[in-house]
Amino acid sequence: MTDALKAAATPTPLPRPAWRTTPLARFAAEFTASPVAVAALCVTLTLALLAVFAELITPQNPYDLAQLDIMDGMLPPGSTDFAGTMTYHLGTDQQGRDMLSAIIFGLRMSLGVGAMSTLIALSLGMSVGVLAAYFGGKVDAAIMRVVDLQLSFPAILVALILLAVLGKGVDKVVIALIIVQWAYYARTVRGTALVERRKEYIEAAACLALSHRRIVFRHLLPNCLPPLIVVATVQVAHAIALEATLSFLGVGVPITEPSLGLLIANGYDYMLSGKYWVSFFPGVALLVTIVAINLVGDQLRDVLNPRLRR
């Protein structure tokens, strides 16, 4: 990493001996060339750590009713609590819940739902897309027709309708997000795989009489990964935004396990009377999360896109 930083800081780095530059090192060097992207990556990782270790970091557990005091309800940012022992840096909501703690727990929910749905949708879409490209013909035509059909409808509409049928719940939100997302991966991987399939190493693998399964999953798929990684990064941000929107509209996660979107929705009525903090700060957290992930995705796209290679 430090080598990579030094290389990026020198205006014209000397070509290093071939045996020392592994693809991964080259990738790291190109990624860290943009300070904005490095900062965004740090923010993303920090947010992820906050979400994972939420209980250890937050001043109170916002969902342990024993720790809440109704006397502390709707305090503006910076107030101390009724007992005078704790400062609410971001204020409290109507039940006297510390907004900072609630936001970190909400972040866990938002990131968790976003990451999980993206991972499952990625593996599903990836498998379907690579199979379509490998086998071609009618299989390909049928799969891609379904993909095109689904992508012609906006994600939010599909998710809304699905949740209207499925009902509320974290698992249902994840299912809806998977159904909404898989088609993007299927289309992306198919595009790459169609090109890769014609290359000689696949031909060689076929000559060795390897099974279809082995060729597809051990040879073809790993070579189709770079564009998928880019799409997946951007899609995590989309999934988080979509989940927040759905929860805001009241069809997403239940009130007992609020995500950032639901926290924002809770503050809607108070905002109209000028008590902005219940909605404002979760929104800032959501915005920072989405911007950071998008910036990382943008840089990944620039580094991994062979068309932009000099």
Binding site: L149, F153, L160, I161, A164, T245, G261, F280, L287
Partner: protein, 325 residues
């Protein structure tokens, strides 16, 4: 052209049919249609009358024919909450949504194209870079939160614009519209800006990429060699050529605007179809949800078809490749 049109029409009809089957399977086969289509508050006599009317005592294929037949006649069930025809109810809210979507579209084009071209002509200048940074922000700002912040800023803190509702309307050909009264315009402004922001960012990106590409083309070099003024080259030659992707994407995005209007309408209490959908989901008013679904599918197919045809008119290359295929 005619062959292309017919083929596209055939595809569209197929998609509508496929969606009808999916909706039918969703409502009748997976869910219990009695729960979905008959109000939980109905008494025994009403239930039996409704079962007989909907033909729920008949075999499944006959039910499907009844469903298709009534859908073709524009009957998609009755709302439990409003006790009126579901499709008619949604259509009565359509003008409010369309008004909002069109104003947002206008904002997106008349703000996005010039800004994008500016950023494309001077990609490395401060102006160009700030426009791009703004567009990244526009992409990342969650729509609903941005709407709430607009309300907080303009309605709560500065108190210059109303926070929600539709304001005063006037009837034009029997349809109530807001944009012809001052009060209505004031109510329309914030929701339209809210809905337009994401699309404006998109248009900026498209226009910027298009401009950068077009400036390197031979026709621009030729126009320059001919001694045309730079202003004319940009405003006539480049502008025309970047409009193809912009028109296509915006056409497609008109549909997604109607979908995203769900969010905007909920934030600003704008009485359009999107708010009706959310209210119906909350009140378990399922016939309205089903009718909304069928109507939007239909709307989307019409929009996609219109965009494809427009594309065909704008770009001769598409036409030629289709004829050859």
């Amino acid at each position: 052209m005619l062959v292309y049109l017919l083929r596209r029409l055939g595809q569209s009809v197929f998609v509508v049919a496929a969606m009808a089957v999916l909706v039918f399977v969703g409502v009748y086969a997976i869910g219990n249609p009695i729960d979905i289509l008959i109000s939980p508050e109905a008494d025994q006599i009403e239930r039996e009358a409704a079962i007989a009317r909907l033909g729920l005592d008949k075999p499944l294929w006959q039910q499907f024919l009844i469903f298709v037949e009534s859908a073709l006649q524009g009957d998609l069930g009755r709302s439990f909450v409003y006790a009126t025809d579901a499709l008619g109810l949604i259509l009565s809210k359509l003008p409010a949504t369309l008004e909002l979507a069109f104003l947002a579209l206008l904002i997106a084009v008349f703000l996005g194209v010039p800004l994008g071209m500016l950023a494309g002509l001077k990609p490395d200048s401060v102006v160009g870079k700030s426009i791009m940074a703004g567009s990244i922000l526009g992409f990342s700002l969650p729509n609903f939160w941005q709407g709430m912040m607009l309300i907080l800023l303009f309605a709560v803190i500065f108190k210059v614009l109303p926070s929600g509702g539709r304001g005063e309307t006037v009837e034009v050909f029997g349809v109530a519209v807001s944009f012809l009264t001052l009060d209505g315009l004031a109510h329309l402004l914030l929701p339209a800006v809210n809905l337009a922001l994401f699309k404006t960012s998109l248009v900026i990106r498209l226009a910027r990429a298009g401009t950068r590409e077009a400036m390197l083309q031979d026709y621009v070099k030729f126009a320059r060699a001919k001694g045309l003024r730079p202003r004319r080259i940009v405003l006539v030659h480049v502008a025309k050529n970047i409009m193809i992707p912009v028109v296509t994407i915006l056409g497609l995005e008109l549909g997604s605007m109607i979908a995203f209007a769900v969010v905007t309408e909920s934030v600003f209490a704008w009485p359009g179809m999107g708010k009706l959908l959310i209210d119906s989901i909350q009140h378990l008013d399922r016939p309205v949800v089903v009718a909304y679904l069928m109507l939007t599918v239909f709307l989307f197919i019409v929009i996609n078809l219109a965009v494809d045809l427009l594309y065909c008119v704008l770009d001769p290359r598409v036409r030629l490749s289709e004829v050859r295929a």
